[in-house]
């Protein structure tokens, strides 16, 4: 390794575009894409068009997307690393424009104005690209000289970079994609933002659930007060802690009140119902809870080894909705059982840990920040998507990375990962 660092950038280029590629990530990428293709084939199998290569079917299209993705991956490996950091603001700008454009000319699919038709039956989903470009710009910003995310100004700018596309996506409105950006808190945390933010986010989630479940503001606020007093009494010698606790208490109470307000005044009925179902407040199996219930049935019926490839009845006979896209994990669970589900989750976990490992071996801050961004986004997608199919997370329509059917999603994750692979292959050089 040492000796390699002596080679100049030019010399590395000459070794071909597979030089220094992290094969582990590539392998997991290909494995997940293959699993996705097989499961889409099974889920939306059409007897009249059985071939994988039939373009009229979703699996035929997905196959094309994978090939296109591979070509794009190779192109990315051919590009210079500097390309991505340099052009990050441009990419960000373009996606921002696209996000605005989609609000005007977008096609409304399932209540969300998230798609732009680009001819030939293909559609582009700018919000998928926005995840990538936001990661890039954030990395670019945080790798700048004298930028410390711990500085309030830098912190605010970072939040703005993340927040702007969130705002535009929220207007579509696409709650799932909006929430994905919140996962970038991990990046900020890694770069030095106080762990309180992480704790606060966890606390918020807990309070959010409690507020809706208990549905009695007096109890929750009373409990918060009691906890605050106990902590204050226990640590009464620690004067410094006092304002922190009090501030925390204030924030918590404000949060509880606002959740209550948003839930009862702002959220649309169908959104409320989704949340209610996950929290077990209502169990409306035939109505709004149908999707999640059927999804649980499909996965639960897989038992240990599953029914086998193409043998799943729940997905094949369309009891599970959105079986190729958001609920693709049902097919995995039903046909491959707990064993298959474990393999898929194992692959994701391996990929995530691998990305962290890759991130930490970088000399370049840009690559590290970007890597954490990629990891956070993938992680969030996996947890929310699979959590939704097994009923522990509200149904939020976001795809399972690399497995769900969909060109925008697949391409965007491919580009994300291969930019990382490219940047990593150049880890000994410093990219600004």
């Amino acid at each position: 390794m040492r000796s390699r660092s002596n080679y100049s950038y030019q010399q590395q280029q000459q070794r071909g575009f597979f030089f220094n590629v992290d094969w582990a990530i590539v392998f997991v990428y290909l494995a997940l894409c293959t699993i996705g293709l097989l499961n889409i084939h099974s889920a939306v199998y059409d007897e009249k068009h059985p071939s994988f290569f039939d373009l009229s079917t979703d699996y035929g299209k997905q196959f094309i997307y994978i090939i296109v993705g591979s070509v794009v991956a190779i192109v990315i490996l051919l590009l210079e690393s500097r390309f991505f950091s340099t052009l990050a603001p441009v990419f960000y700008g373009i996606t921002t424009l696209l996000l605005m454009l989609v609000l005007v000319v977008g096609r409304n699919v399932g209540g969300n104005q998230a798609w732009i038709s680009i001819g030939g039956g293909f559609r582009l989903q700018p919000s998928e690209l926005a995840k990538l470009t936001t990661c890039l710009l954030l990395a670019r910003y945080l790798s700048g000289t004298n930028i410390r995310v711990t500085d309030p100004k830098s912190f605010m700018i970072s939040l703005a970079i993340i927040g702007f596309p969130m705002l535009l996506i929220m207007l579509q409105p696409d709650a799932g994609s909006t929430l994905v950006f919140s996962s970038l808190i991990f990046v900020l945390y890694r770069e030095g933002v106080s762990p309180y933010f992480l704790i606060l986010e966890g606390l918020f989630i807990a309070l959010f659930v409690l507020t809706l479940k208990v549905n009695n503001l007096a109890y929750i606020i009373g409990a918060l007060l009691a906890i605050a007093i106990i902590i204050l009494l226990l640590f009464r010698r620690n004067r410094k802690l006092m304002p922190v606790i009090l501030a925390g208490l204030g924030i918590c109470v404000a949060f509880v009140l606002s959740v209550n307000f948003i839930y009862s005044k702002v959220l649309k009925p169908h959104q409320k119902v989704r949340i209610d179902i996950v929290l077990g407040i209502t169990t409306d199996i035939k109505g709004k809870g149908y999707n999640v219930n059927q999804s649980k049935i499909a996965i639960g019926s897989g038992k240990l080894w599953g029914r086998g490839y193409m043998q799943g009845t729940q997905t094949k006979y369309s009891f599970v909705p959105e079986q190729g896209t958001d609920f693709i994990f049902c097919t995995v669970g039903e046909e491959w059982g707990f064993a298959g589900a474990t393999v898929v989750l194992g692959l994701y976990l391996f990929l995530l840990l691998r990305i962290i490992r890759v991130a930490e071996r970088q000399r370049s801050t840009f690559t590290r920040v970007y890597a954490y961004g990629v990891a956070s986004v993938i992680f969030f997608h996996v947890i929310i998507n699979i959590g939704m199919t097994i009923g522990i997370v509200p149904s939020i329509g976001i795809p399972l990375p690399l497995i769900s059917y969909g060109g925008s999603s697949l391409l965007s994750f491919t580009i994300m990962l291969f930019i990382l692979v490219k940047l990593d292959s150049n880890r000994m050089g410093i990219v600004y």
């Binding site: 991990f186 639960g300 019926s301 038992k303 369309s318 707990f338 589900a341 990891a375 097994i390």
Partner: protein, 669 residues
């Protein structure tokens, strides 16, 4: 490397933790919780039951008594319904808008994606008009179902009826029946349910989320084909059944005819009867409600559920037992002064007629009460008066062998036992040892506590015709295309009387018809042996009874006829029996010495006056709607049979009180 390097572990830790939470949850729903597999099966597996055709029932000459006819249900799948012309549709089905909304709501409530019935049991004609327009109304469809139809509208109580299963039937059947299935409720339909229903086929279909057929589960490995119900050949003869029902028009009572050489029941009339077609199809609920309101209770199966004192028709049996016990010989004579003193209990002959010196045959022919009371007295005191109880028990045993006091085991539900009192009964009423032959002297002439069903009476007659044995009476001759006969119907049941004792009695019975009480009903050219009976009845006029068999040599038919509240046996029961006999033997009816014609009897109204007729407990039956009518009908049926039991008790009570009062004016013919 910057100073927050160690935070990678925190982040990795969070990633690992949350993914493990997902895995734990997956482990729970996939491995531990078995419910989901079951739900999944319920989702895709649709058991389609193929109901086989119910077996038809034929008469002994293979004429159809009941068969299946297609009726049509209009069914609706709410999910598939698209906007349509509701007015036209309502008009087609002849319902109003409110009714339409009500039914549609019910269907949606049952299941939006499954078929449910919208209009039930339309006849083929009614359906034809609707069928051609049904395609204009998407979501609505028709579903044929096969219901019973009775071409000759006869033998309603014998055939019984079928009805949709209730919850109790479903529970008891151990999963065989499903809601909407039919089950026999009464009559043959009930007692031969297992044979008639056939075997239901099951098809395990795979369906998708919209209930669309997607294929057979496991390629049909678990499917079973339906097997049609067996054909039953009944022992009834449609000709005399029809004649019998017509003769009994506007009369309350029964006709039972048995073929002595087989035990097959040729005629099984319960009157008043009803048209079995009324209990099928669209209007069955209303019709059933109407029938239940009938005070003469058409659902009461009189041949086996009504019980009567046999009266004089019991006398041949009395004589047989006395001969077998060696008390009398056919030549034993008795000088009848027109009455008989049993202890201080006087038994009168009918109209106090002096019969003079009578032997067995003439006593039977002239129905001499004195003779039979004298014989009974001697029989009871054979072992001394102190042994009355044990002697009585012995006598009772002999009578019981003829099938009295117990069910004959007819292949029909709800058979009555009649009543044959025990010594213990008298011990209870008169204290042990406190009764003697004179106390129970009424039994000698078929009165007192003695009660028999018309079936039992006919069976005694068949036994006499056979000279001492009977075959178990039955209504189903053979089962299925192979015409299987139950082995129990080939067993001779001996009644413990040697065959040589029958001739004198039969001589008497022939004399009854030739020159005795039933001489008016003599059939020219056929030697018929019979015995009239006039059964006393606490609710109005006596019941008219007649038992007979014919021809004397090689008997073909034994008949018992009861016409309630119609006086002497010779007047109504005997001519009816003679018509049945002649119709059966000759398929024609000739003139009678007394000029009685079938038409005269058919037109006669002998219905007892309602204020005097015992109606049993009042039936409450608001015929509100069709669905509840059936349940109500069931309970009403129960009430009817309870009523019958009650009636029997009344009689029992009535007669024992009569005994206690020691009324001396018994008059028997």
């Amino acid at each position: 490397m910057n100073s927050f390097f160690e935070r990678r572990y925190v982040i990795a830790g969070i990633f690992i933790t949350l993914i493990l939470i997902l895995l734990a949850r997956l482990f729970y729903i996939q491995i531990i919780d078995d419910r989901y597999l079951l739900y999944a099966q319920n989702n895709v597996l649709r058991k389609v039951y193929k109901n086989p055709a119910r077996g038809p029932i034929l008469d002994r000459n293979k004429k159809i008594l009941v068969q299946n006819e297609a009726f049509y249900d209009i069914v609706v799948t709410p999910n598939l319904v698209k906007p349509f012309d509701t007015v036209a549709f309502c008009k087609l089905l002849n319902i109003d808008r409110a009714e339409f909304d009500k039914r549609f709501e019910k269907a949606v409530k049952y299941s939006p994606r499954l078929q449910s019935p919208f209009e039930k049991q339309l006849s083929a004609q009614a359906f034809a008009a609707i069928q051609e327009r049904l395609s204009e109304f998407p979501g609505f469809d028709s579903s044929p179902r096969y219901l019973r139809t009775y071409p000759d509208s006869v033998a309603a109580q014998f055939l019984g009826y079928i009805s949709e299963v209730n919850d109790n039937d479903i529970k008891k059947s151990g999963g065989y029946y499903h809601p909407g299935d039919f089950i026999g409720v009464t009559g043959v339909e009930r007692s031969y349910e297992n044979v008639l229903r056939g075997r239901r086929g099951v098809e395990n279909d795979l369906v998708d989320s919209r209930s669309r057929f997607k294929g057979h589960y496991a390629n049909g490995a678990y499917d079973t084909a339906q097997v049609a119900g067996e054909r039953l050949i009944s022992s009834l003869d449609l000709r005399i059944q029809k004649l019998g029902e017509r003769l009994m028009t506007n009369k309350v009572g029964s006709i039972v005819a048995i073929e002595p050489s087989t035990g097959e029941i040729l005629c099984y009339v319960s009157s008043p009867t009803y048209n079995p077609n009324l209990l099928v199809g669209h209007e069955r609920g209303n019709n059933a409600a109407e029938l239940y309101k009938d005070p003469y209770k058409p659902f009461f199966v009189r041949p086996i559920q009504a019980t009567y004192p046999p009266g004089s028709s019991f006398k041949p049996l009395s004589a047989l037992i006395a001969m077998q016990e060696g008390i009398i010989t056919p030549e034993t004579t008795y000088n009848c002064p027109g009455y008989y003193w049993s202890g201080n209990h006087r038994v009168n002959c009918f109209h106090n007629e002096r019969h003079g010196v009578v032997n067995l045959a003439s006593a039977v022919a002239e129905s001499c009460n004195g003779y039979f009371s004298w014989v009974f007295d001697r029989l009871m005191n054979y072992n001394g008066a102190r042994q009355t109880a044990s002697t009585f028990t012995n006598w009772r045993g002999n009578v019981a062998k003829f099938g009295l006091g117990a069910r004959l085991g007819l292949d029909m539900p709800s058979e009555g036992k009649g009543n044959l009192p025990t010594a213990a009964h008298y011990d209870k009423v008169y204290h042990t040892g406190g009764w003697r032959s004179s106390t129970v002297i009424s039994l000698a002439i078929g009165q007192g506590e003695l009660l028999a069903t018309p079936l039992q009476l006919a069976n005694i007659d068949a036994t006499i015709a056979n000279h001492g044995f009977y075959y178990k009476p039955h209504l189903i001759k053979s089962i299925g295309d192979k015409e299987i006969i139950k082995p129990e119907y080939r067993v001779k049941n001996y009644v413990g009387i040697d065959s040589q004792y029958f001739e004198p009695v039969i001589n008497g019975m022939q004399a009854v018809v030739d020159r005795g009480t039933a001489a008016g009903s003599k059939i020219p050219g056929i030697i018929m042996c019979g015995k009239t009976g006039t059964a006393q009845n606490n609710h109005g006029e006596d019941h008219s009874l007649f038992v007979c068999y014919a021809p004397r040599d090689n008997p073909k038919i034994a008949v018992a006829v009861v016409v309630e509240n119609s006086g002497e046996g010779s007047k109504w029961a005997a001519p009816i029996a003679s018509f049945i006999v002649e119709k059966y033997l000759r398929d024609s009816i000739s003139s009678r010495p007394n000029g009685m014609t079938p038409e005269y009897i058919m037109n006669a109204n002998r219905l007892p006056a309602l204020d005097n007729y015992y109606q049993g407990p009042k039936l409450k039956l608001p015929p509100s709607n069709k669905d509840t009518a059936k349940h109500k009908a069931d309970s009403a049926d129960k009430k009817a049979s309870i009523g019958a039991g009650h009636k029997k008790n009344k009689n029992k009570y009535g007669t024992s009180a009569y005994q206690l009062e020691r009324r001396e004016d018994e008059e028997q013919k």
